[in-house]
Symmetry: C2
Subunit: 157 residues, 2 copies
């Protein structure tokens, strides 16, 4: 952790505090590349009617648009709170180099955001989960995968 990390985390925290004031969720995130902020966002689930609009997802989407690349290799995420499984997986898909966070998921749970429920569900076999999950029609669906596998000009990600 160096001085610039404190600067960038301060900005993520500022966004989280501003977000509460503006009617959004209490979360902020900043994405940095080569020592510069390329995207910042706060949680806008209720404002945008988008269940995926967590601060980190919003920031990743903005950053990728900004650099015109779905691969955010070389970027660092500063989040005001420990990412939920959705955001953490999004951070991995985006190939982010490093993650800093401030509040913990335990802190988040105390104010009503229960990431643990989802973390726990992900570890259970489907038949033990709260949400009913059913597999079907695999043989038919494999056609898309075969076509992808055989496609020579595909853009991999």
């Amino acid at each position: 952790m160096v001085k610039s990390d404190i600067f960038f985390m301060n900005e993520a925290i500022r966004l989280s505090i501003k977000s509460v004031k503006d009617g959004g969720g209490p979360f902020g995130a900043v994405i940095v590349k080569n020592g510069k902020i390329i995207a910042k966002a706060s949680n806008s689930v209720t404002k945008d009617n988008d269940p995926t609009a967590h601060a980190e997802v919003n920031a990743l989407r903005l950053a990728a648009k900004k650099i015109k690349n779905f691969d955010l290799n070389g970027c660092i995420v500063y989040s005001s709170c420990e990412p939920c499984p959705m955001c953490l997986a999004a951070i991995y898909w985006a190939k982010i180099d490093r993650l800093f966070f401030a509040n913990t998921k335990t802190d988040a749970k105390k104010i009503g955001f229960d990431d643990f429920f989802i973390y726990d569900e992900l570890e259970l076999p489907y038949e033990k989960r709260k949400m009913k999950v059913t597999q079907m029609m695999r043989n038919k669906a494999l056609e898309a995968f075969r076509n992808w596998d055989n496609k020579e000009d595909k853009i991999q990600y």
Copy 2:
């Protein structure tokens, strides 16, 4: 599984096959409410330069916009493939009732989409993960959580 489930999954599969043809990833998803499709989407990570634009996330975002509500309680997701951790967590956040999928994550891995890597990482303690994760400045960040907790007119989600 009833006849309509086959109908809806067929549509998710059709989208996944079409997506490969159109230059997107080999995944499709459909969201159904009260027996009607309210949103359908395919993977557009490379087309939209958006690392979060998996078929399920795209479909959830569209569905929530359509019904003007971040809460998709009462909806069913049909996905041409077993959701990755990002999409599965998004499905939980959206309060989806039920999930059907066709191809498995093992099928996805065989054609180069390694969800297992992320599932495995999520189960490790931070110090053992491939991506470096650091906590910092929790005391300062808690201000947003206190403000949220004390806010009387907040929209919970």
